[in-house]
C-alpha cells in the first residue's frame, strides 16, 4: 500500500507538471494570437466588419499644351443602400422611386435584398448633383450617397480618337485615356461603416472616411488652336468631298511633339455606346496603313542626296512618259511624260521615271537602309495603342521592279504617322524623333509639374546639308510644282503631294485613291509638319495636289499664325498656270475721292462702308497681296465735313 501510494504521488506530481506546462502553452498561444498575430487579425477582422461605400477618385484632367481643358469630370454621385439598416423599406422605396424615377417595386426589391450593400443601378447610378441632394434630403437611414463622377469632354468630338474615352467605372477604354489609365485614374476612397454580421450598424464604431486620391493631370503636346484648325479643315473637306475618310497630323519637327491629330469619321466620346466600335477603335493616323504614293519620294530624294547620287540643279533626266524596268513599262502619272528636266524639276513634277532612276542609282540595299532608318517598317513609338508597323518588301524578294516601285512609293505600306516622322527628320536637319503626346504630368490641384517628358531622338538619318537641300527642293514643289495648291503668300511652305492607289485583294481600285499632301513651313527652319490624307474624295480629280495640298496650306498658314510665327518676305515666287488666280498688290487708295477711284479702273470689287466721298481707310492695307478681281473694303467719310 505504501509503495503504491508513492507511485501515485509521483505520478500526481507528473500530472501537475504537465498541467503547468499546458497552462504556459495556452498563455503563450494566447499571447501569440493577441500580440504577434494581433495587428494582422485586427485588419482582417476590420475588413470583415466594415462595409465600404466607395468614393471614386477624380480622373486626371487632360489639357492642351497651354492648359486648355480637353477632358474633365462632372460630379455624378451614386446611391447605395444598406438594406438591413432601412427601417421602413416600403415608405423608403416610395420616396426613392419618386426621386430617381424608377419603379417602386424595383426600388423595394433593392431595399430588401439580402445583401449588405446594394447599388441602385442603373437609375441610381451616376445621377446629377441635384438629384443626389434630393436623395440626401430624404434622410433615410441606410441610404448612402457615394461620391462618383463621370468623364466630360467639353469640346465634344474634338480630338476624340487621341483622347479616347473612359467607361462607366471611370476606366480608360481607348486612346490616351486607356494608354495612361494608371496615372489618370487615381485611387478610390471610401466611407466605411462597421456592421454586425446581420448588416446592421455596429454601435460605437464611427464611420471612417478615406479620401480618394485624384489622378494626375495630363498636359499634352497638342496645341488646341492648331487642333481647332485641323478639325475645321477636315470638316470642310468632309463637306466638300464626301470622302470615305480623312485624317490630318501636325507635328513639331524639332521635337516629335504632336501638335494636332484628327481623322474622320470621328465621334463624341460621351456617346461612344451608340457608335460602331471600329469608328472609335481605329485611330487612323496611327492605325491605318496604305501605299503612301508620291510623298514617299521624299525618302528616295533624301537618300539620293545624302549618298551624292544626284545633283538636282545640274543632272538632267528625260522622261518619255514611262521607264522600262526588267521588261515592264512603268508609266509616269503624266501622259506623254515630262520630257527633258533637271532633277529639281523631276521632284517638282513628281516624275515617276525620274525617281525610278534615283532608286536604281541608290541600289536596293542603300535605299532600303534609308527607308528603315527613316522609321518605316516599325512602330514610331507614339504613346497610343494600336499603332501599325507598315509593310515593306522583304529585301530578299526585291528585284529591279520592286526597287523601282518602292522608289516612287508603291508596293510599300506605311502609316500616316510614319510619314510625318520621316519627313520631319528629312527637313529638320536629319534627326528622327519619336512622336509623343504626353508633355507633362501635373499634380491634380496645385498644377505643379510632377514629370515632364522630353523629346526622344532616335538617330540622325541624313546630314544637315542634305536636309537643307531636301527643304529647298520641296519648297520648289510648292512654289513651282505639283504642290502649288499649298502655296501661301508670306509663309515659305515646302511639301510633296501623294496620290496613292488603294489595293483591295491584291488589285488596285479604279477611281478610288487616297490623296495626300505633306507640307512643312517655314522652309528655312520648319516649325510644323502637316500631313493630310483624304480617302476617296468625290466629284473631283483625285490628285493630292488638288484636294489635299490646299488643306495643308490652310492648316499651315493658320497654325503658324496662331503659333506666332512671322511671315517672311523672301519666298520663292509662285509659278502660275492659266487657271491660277493672279495676286496683285493692293494699291494705296486712302485719301482719294470716289471720283478718282472710278477714273483709275482698279481691277477690284469695291465695298463701301460709311457715308461720304473720301476714303479714310482700306482693307486690305496697301501693299498686301490680293486676288485679281477680289474685294477691297473702303471706309468713307465726308472730307468737306471733317475739314470744316
Amino acid at each position: 500500500m505504501r509503495v503504491s501510494f508513492v507511485t501515485v504521488r509521483k505520478r500526481l506530481f507528473f500530472v501537475l507538471a504537465v498541467g503547468a506546462v499546458a497552462i504556459v502553452v495556452l498563455l503563450l498561444r494566447l499571447g501569440f494570437v493577441q500580440f504577434s498575430m494581433g495587428d494582422w487579425l485586427s485588419e482582417l477582422a476590420r475588413d470583415s466588419w466594415s462595409r465600404d461605400v466607395p468614393f471614386e477618385a477624380e480622373r486626371g484632367e487632360i489639357l492642351d499644351r497651354n492648359g486648355e481643358v480637353l477632358a474633365t469630370n462632372v460630379s455624378a454621385p451614386s446611391v447605395i443602400a444598406a438594406p438591413r439598416q432601412i427601417e421602413d423599406p416600403e415608405q423608403s422605396a416610395e420616396q426613392l422611386a419618386d426621386v430617381l424615377g424608377a419603379g417602386e417595386d424595383k426600388v423595394y426589391e433593392w431595399l430588401t435584398k439580402n445583401q449588405s450593400l446594394v447599388r441602385l443601378s442603373p437609375e441610381g447610378r451616376k445621377i446629377s448633383k441635384e438629384k443626389a441632394k434630393e436623395v440626401r434630403d430624404l434622410e433615410i437611414e441606410g441610404i448612402y450617397i457615394a461620391e462618383d463622377n463621370k468623364r466630360h469632354y467639353p469640346k465634344g468630338k474634338y480630338l476624340s480618337h487621341v483622347l479616347g474615352f473612359a467607361g462607366i467605372d471611370n476606366q480608360g477604354l481607348t486612346g490616351l485615356e486607356q494608354y495612361y489609365d494608371d496615372k489618370l485614374k487615381g485611387e478610390a476612397g471610401r466611407v466605411s461603416f462597421f456592421s454586425d454580421a446581420k448588416g446592421r450598424k455596429l454601435e460605437g464604431m464611427a464611420d471612417e472616411y478615406e479620401e480618394p486620391t485624384p489622378g494626375e493631370d495630363l498636359s499634352l503636346t497638342i496645341d488646341a488652336k492648331v487642333q481647332t484648325i485641323i478639325e475645321r479643315e477636315l470638316d470642310i473637306a468632309e463637306a466638300t468631298y464626301n470622302p470615305d475618310g480623312a485624317l490630318a497630323i501636325a507635328m513639331d519637327p524639332d521635337s516629335g511633339e504632336i501638335l494636332g491629330m484628327s481623322s474622320r469619321p470621328d465621334f463624341h466620346p460621351e456617346e461612344f455606346r451608340d457608335i460602331p466600335a471600329e469608328v472609335y477603335n481605329q485611330n487612323k493616323p496611327v492605325w491605318s496603313q496604305y501605299e503612301p504614293g508620291s510623298t514617299f519620294k521624299i525618302i528616295t530624294l533624301a537618300a539620293a542626296l545624302e549618298e551624292g547620287k544626284v545633283d538636282l540643279e545640274n543632272d538632267h533626266f528625260n522622261d518619255p512618259g514611262y521607264i522600262e524596268v526588267s521588261g515592264t513599262k512603268l508609266h509616269c502619272w503624266k501622259k506623254g511624260g515630262h520630257g527633258e528636266q533637271t532633277f529639281l524639276e523631276v521632284v517638282q513634277n513628281s516624275c515617276n521615271p525620274g525617281f525610278v532612276a534615283l532608286g536604281e542609282r541608290l541600289g536596293k540595299d542603300t535605299l532600303f537602309d534609308y527607308i528603315e532608318n527613316f522609321g518605316f517598317g516599325k512602330k514610331t513609338g507614339i504613346d497610343l495603342q494600336g499603332e501599325g508597323t507598315g509593310i515593306l518588301f522583304d529585301r530578299e524578294n526585291v528585284g529591279p521592279l520592286e526597287l523601282a516601285t518602292t522608289a516612287f512609293g508603291q508596293g510599300v505600306s506605311v502609316t500616316p504617322l510614319q510619314q510625318v516622322t520621316a519627313v520631319a527628320a528629312a527637313v529638320n536637319g536629319g534627326y528622327l524623333y519619336e512622336p509623343y503626346l504626353a508633355k507633362e504630368w501635373l499634380e491634380a490641384d496645385s498644377g505643379t509639374v510632377i514629370e515632364a517628358n522630353t523629346p526622344t531622338m532616335r538617330q540622325q538619318v541624313i546630314s544637315e546639308e542634305t536636309s537643307d537641300e531636301v527643304r529647298n527642293a520641296l519648297e520648289h514643289v510648292v512654289a513651282k510644282g505639283t504642290g502649288r495648291g499649298a502655296f501661301v503668300d508670306g509663309y515659305r511652305i515646302g511639301g510633296k503631294t501623294g496620290t496613292a492607289q488603294k489595293a483591295v485583294d491584291g488589285k488596285y481600285l479604279e477611281n478610288n485613291h487616297i490623296v495626300s499632301f505633306i507640307g512643312f513651313a517655314p522652309a528655312n527652319d520648319p516649325e510644323i509638319v502637316v500631313y493630310t490624307a483624304i480617302d476617296n474624295p468625290k466629284d473631283t480629280l483625285q490628285f493630292g495636289g488638288i484636294v489635299a495640298a490646299p488643306i495643308v496650306g490652310n492648316i499651315i498658314s493658320d497654325s503658324l499664325s496662331v503659333m506666332g510665327v512671322e511671315k517672311q518676305q523672301d519666298q520663292l515666287e509662285k509659278e502660275r498656270n492659266w487657271d491660277d488666280e493672279v495676286l496683285v498688290e493692293t494699291p494705296d487708295v486712302t485719301g482719294k475721292s470716289l471720283k478718282e477711284l472710278h477714273e483709275a479702273y482698279y481691277p477690284f470689287q469695291i465695298e463701301k462702308e460709311g457715308e461720304g466721298n473720301v476714303v479714310i481707310a482700306q482693307s486690305p492695307k496697301a501693299g498686301e497681296k490680293i486676288r485679281e478681281g477680289g474685294t477691297i473694303r473702303l471706309y468713307l467719310d465726308d472730307k468737306s465735313n471733317s475739314s470744316d
Binding site: M1, R29, L41, A45
Partner: protein
C-alpha cells in the same frame, strides 16, 4: 484512517467563485445581442445562467457535505444508471437531436446530457475500481483490461450520439486516472497506439471530423465553411490585444461568432478583456488544477486521491481543449469552457463535481 473534519480548501473555492462571477458577466456580454434578437430580452441568457449557477451552488453545497465514501459505496449503481441513460438517449423519441447529435434527454429547460453525467459517473466508478484492485493494475488481463472494457463501452455509446468532444474528455480523464493509479507505462504506449488508431478510424468514418482537423491547420483555406468558426474566433481574440476592447464592446459577438455564449465564450473574453483578462482566467484554472491535485495528494485514502484526480483531470482537459480551440491550437470539437460557458446541465454537473472535490479537501491529511 478517518481524521477530524477540516474546513474546505478556501483557495479552491475562491478561484471557483471568481470564475463563476466572470462567467456570469461574460455570458451576459456575449449573449445580450443574441438574446435581444431571438428572445427579445438581452438578459434572457443571463437570467437562465444565473438560475443554473444557483442550482450549481446548491448541488455543490450539498455534495460538499456528503462524505465521498458515499460514492465509493454506490459507484456501481451510479455507473449503471449512467449507462441506462446513455442507451436511452440514443432512442429516437426519448433522445433529442440538437446540433446534429442525439445528446439530450428530457424536455425544454429541464433537458440534460447523459454523456455529461457519464463523465462524472465513470470517474466515480473507475476511482473505486482502481482503488480496490490497485495491486492488479500492473496486470493487463486481470487489472487494466476490465477497466478499459467499461471505459470503451461508455465511449462507444457516446460516440453513437455522436459526441466526439465529450467522449474524448471522458476517455482522456480515464487515462489520467489509469496513469496516476499506477498502470504500466508500457501498457500506456500500447494503449496510446491503439487509441491513436481508433481515433484515426473515427475520423475516417466521418469526413466532417477530417475537415475540422484540416481547417484548424489552415482555416483560411475554407473560410466560409470549415474554417469559419476558427477564423471568427481569431477575429475576436486577435484584436483584443493586451487590455481588450472593454466590457460589452465585443464586435464578434454580433452574430459573427456563432453561439458566442457557449463554446466560444473565451474568445469574447479575450476580445473584451484582452490578454490580461483572458490570462487571468487561465491562471484561475491553473490554481484550480493545483489545489485539486493537492487535494488528491493529501486525500486520506487511494479512493479519495483517485476521485480528486479524476475530477481535476476532467475539468482541466475541458479547459485545455476549449481554449486550444478558441486560440486555433486544436480543431473545433464542441467542448464548453467549465464554469464560464452558458449551459445548465454542464454547469450544474461540474459544480456538483467540485462539491465532491471540496469534500475530499475536508478530509485532507498532512502528508509527512
Amino acid at each position: 484512517m478517518r481524521k477530524e473534519i477540516q474546513p474546505v480548501d478556501k483557495i479552491l473555492l475562491t478561484s471557483l467563485i471568481c470564475l463563476l462571477v466572470i462567467g456570469l458577466f461574460m455570458v451576459y456580454s456575449a449573449s445580450s445581442a443574441l438574446g435581444e434578437f431571438s428572445q427579445n430580452d438581452p438578459f434572457y441568457f443571463l437570467k437562465r445562467q444565473f438560475i443554473f449557477t444557483t442550482a450549481g451552488f446548491a448541488a455543490m453545497a450539498a455534495l460538499m457535505r456528503v462524505d465521498y465514501w458515499f460514492w465509493q459505496r454506490w459507484s456501481l449503481l451510479v455507473l449503471v444508471f449512467c449507462f441506462i441513460f446513455l442507451v436511452l438517449v440514443l432512442i429516437p423519441g426519448i433522445g433529442m437531436v440538437r446540433g446534429g447529435a442525439r445528446s439530450w434527454i428530457g424536455a425544454g429547460a429541464f433537458s440534460i446530457q447523459p454523456a455529461e453525467f457519464m463523465k462524472l459517473g465513470m470517474i466515480i466508478y473507475l476511482a473505486h475500481y482502481l482503488a480496490r484492485y490497485q495491486k492488479r493494475i500492473t496486470d493487463f488481463r486481470r487489472g487494466l483490461f476490465p477497466a478499459l472494457l467499461r471505459i470503451f463501452a461508455a465511449f462507444a455509446l457516446i460516440m453513437m450520439q455522436p459526441d466526439l468532444g465529450t467522449g474524448a474528455v471522458m476517455a482522456g480523464t480515464c487515462f489520467v486516472l489509469l496513469f496516476v493509479a499506477g498502470a504500466r507505462i508500457r501498457h500506456f504506449f500500447a494503449l496510446a497506439g491503439a487509441g491513436l488508431l481508433g481515433f484515426i478510424g473515427l475520423i475516417a468514418s466521418a469526413p466532417y471530423r477530417m475537415q475540422r482537423i484540416t481547417s484548424f491547420l489552415d482555416p483560411w483555406s475554407d473560410p466560409l465553411e470549415t474554417g469559419f468558426q476558427i477564423i471568427q474566433s481569431l477575429y475576436a481574440v486577435g484584436p483584443g490585444g493586451l487590455f481588450g476592447l472593454g466590457f460589452g464592446d465585443s464586435r464578434q459577438k454580433y452574430y459573427y461568432l456563432p453561439e458566442p455564449q457557449t463554446d466560444f465564450i473565451f474568445a469574447i473574453l479575450a476580445e473584451e478583456a484582452g490578454f490580461i483578462g483572458a490570462g487571468f482566467v487561465v491562471l484561475l484554472f491553473g490554481i484550480l488544477l493545483w489545489r485539486g491535485l493537492t487535494a488528491a495528494m493529501t486525500a486520506p485514502d487511494m479512493y479519495g486521491s483517485l476521485l480528486a484526480t479524476g475530477i481535476c483531470g476532467m475539468i482541466f482537459l475541458q479547459v485545455l481543449i476549449n481554449i486550444g480551440v478558441v486560440t486555433g491550437l486544436f480543431p473545433v470539437t464542441g467542448i464548453t469552457l467549465p464554469f464560464l460557458s452558458y449551459g445548465g446541465s454542464s454547469l450544474t454537473l461540474l459544480m456538483a463535481a467540485v462539491g465532491i472535490l471540496l469534500n475530499i479537501t475536508r478530509h485532507r491529511t498532512d502528508y509527512h
